[in-house]
């Protein structure tokens, strides 16, 4: 006898097959709808690119005074990191900004995330910088996992200017006292008008507000020793560094120089020292970036740093002749003359950002 039990099975089989096919088809279509949104790697790459642009092409915020000059007590005022010298010089990084960015006062990842990565998602990241020809890589963050977004930027880092005054410079410019004096004064002149206008390109400019000013003097006793009778130079102290300025105005083109402050804790021989400070034959004075503010000197100011040296014999102020002194010759000009100054030089480097 024939019955129709098998027909039911075939209907079920056909219906289930069609359902399964439709289900598989729809299931495979759904991921395709989100293909432009679901790729985390693409998102990470975009964030890495954005971070690279902010670091390499932006000077950061605040800009004036620049964020890298804010001390640790004011680091909360830094809104955005940016390593570029200015917005007009993409890929040219400031060495001071790089130093400040990689210094240990910032906490990874929180301090960096809110100032350079941005976004609500808690991205992790690694930012590395290496100057060309150096094996020393400066880095923040952890090692990246297998999958991460990445960008590499080729940059140049702006070096710092410095003045090297040796015994031949001292003799050429007659930077020594011709009389017996107990106190010698050597003056360093920063002409802000010339410094800011003679080189308008921020990549090569000596900017006294944001750049370190460095003066190295060697052979300070050179003129002292040969004067007969040949004796050892007297012990000498750097007793004061006065900050003086004159500011031309329309009614007075040659205004007087007024000393208005003292540089009480200068950086001498690479250490912050208190004055008086004993001086041997050499002296290295650093005026740190951010020390000169617009309150101290505006763009038309003539600023002078007057270094006062006192000579002692057995603890008593005594006369010396031929020591470093610019009273008769005029101040040492810190300007763009390559005879006076080693100009800022751009050094190659590479910066990498990894985000995951």
């Amino acid at each position: 006898m024939t019955d129709n039990a098998g027909t039911l099975s075939i209907d079920f089989l056909a219906g289930f097959t069609i359902f399964l096919i439709a289900f598989i088809y729809v299931a495979t279509l759904i991921p395709g709808l989100f293909i432009g949104l679901q790729s985390r790697t693409i998102d990470y790459d975009a964030v890495a690119y954005r971070t690279g642009v902010i670091l390499v092409e932006d000077p950061g915020m605040p800009y004036n005074p620049s964020w890298e000059n804010l001390d640790d007590y004011h680091k909360g005022e830094v809104l955005r990191f940016g390593l570029a010298v200015s917005k007009d010089t993409p890929n040219i990084l400031s060495s001071q900004k790089v130093d400040r960015f990689f210094c240990t006062t910032w906490t990874y990842p929180d301090d960096y995330r809110s100032r350079v990565i941005f976004g609500n998602y808690p991205y992790m990241f690694n930012i590395s910088f290496q100057p060309a020809g150096s094996n020393l890589t400066r880095s923040i963050g952890d090692d990246p996992p297998d999958e991460y977004g990445y960008i590499r930027r080729v940059v140049k880092i702006k070096g710092i200017s410095n003045a090297s005054i040796d015994d031949s410079t001292i003799q050429t410019y007659k930077f020594n006292s011709s009389d017996n004096v107990t106190t010698d004064v050597f003056s360093i002149h920063l002409n802000f008008t010339n410094l800011l206008e003679d080189e308008p390109n921020p990549a090569y400019q000596i900017n006294p507000y944001n750049d370190q000013i460095m003066v190295n003097v060697s052979g300070m006793n050179a003129k002292v020793i040969p004067i007969p009778p040949i004796t050892a130079p007297l012990p000498t102290n750097l007793t004061a560094i006065q900050i003086c300025r004159s500011k031309p105005i329309s009614t007075n083109l040659h205004p007087p120089v007024v000393c208005f402050a003292n540089f009480t804790s200068p950086i001498v021989d690479n250490n912050q020292v208190d004055l008086p400070y004993p001086i041997e034959n050499n002296l290295s004075l650093i005026i740190p970036p951010g020390f000169i503010t617009t309150d101290l000197a505006d763009a038309n100011t003539q600023l002078y740093f007057n270094l006062t040296f006192d000579h002692y014999n057995a603890g008593i102020l005594s006369e010396e002749k031929g020591y470093l002194n610019s009273t008769g010759s005029g101040p040492f000009e810190y300007n763009y003359d390559p005879k006076n100054i080693t100009l800022p030089k751009l050094q190659d480097g590479v910066l990498e950002v990894s985000v995951w």
């Binding site: 089989l13 096919i21 598989i24 495979t28 293909i35 693409i42 094996n135």
Partner: protein, 167 residues
């Protein structure tokens, strides 16, 4: 005697075949496909790197340097210097292991004495393009003091064009 037993087997067979076909389709569609969006990202990374490299080559190292390395290269047609400098820029990383990129550079200029036409000549390359690569194009305008088709040297705007690719 004729009955419908054979029909049942045929439909089961067709259904099984369809299931197998769609299973194969599912497996194949699940394999990772390099989407156009992903390719764009790696292209962007290469473009950025090449643009940065050319820009840095066209930047003098200090204010007393009158010319950038790229200006000197174009003026003296120094392929060796370009090869060394450009590869240093694009291959250097912060880790010890360097990248391995390939390029082909061409200089293009307008020949004002020959019908004001655009001329070009190969500057340097570290591998020939065979057609199978996927290069990106980066350019940099250089102000160079060269003859470029005229009788005298004069400052001319020269286009340095580089095709850059990865193996």
């Amino acid at each position: 005697m004729v009955n419908d037993t054979g029909q049942l087997y045929t439909i089961e067979g067709i259904a099984a075949a369809l299931i197998m076909l769609f299973s194969a389709y599912l497996v194949l569609s699940a394999t990772s496909v390099y989407t156009p969006g992903d390719t764009h990202i790696s292209d962007m990374q290469l473009e950025q790197l090449g643009t940065d490299a050319l820009r840095m080559m066209n930047t003098p190292i200090n204010s007393s340097s009158a010319k950038s390395p790229l200006q000197e290269i174009v003026e003296t047609n120094n392929a060796t210097y370009f090869n060394e400098t450009f590869l240093n820029y694009v291959n250097n990383k912060t880790e010890l292991k360097t990248d391995n990129l390939h390029y082909s550079a061409v200089v293009t200029y307008r020949n004002i004495t020959n019908g004001n036409t655009t001329w070009n000549y190969p500057l340097s390359s570290n591998r020939n393009l065979t057609g199978g690569e996927h290069p990106v194009r980066v350019t940099e305008w250089v102000l160079a003091n060269i003859q470029a088709g005229s009788n005298v040297k004069q400052n001319r705007a020269i286009l340095v064009e580089v095709l850059l690719w990865r193996d």
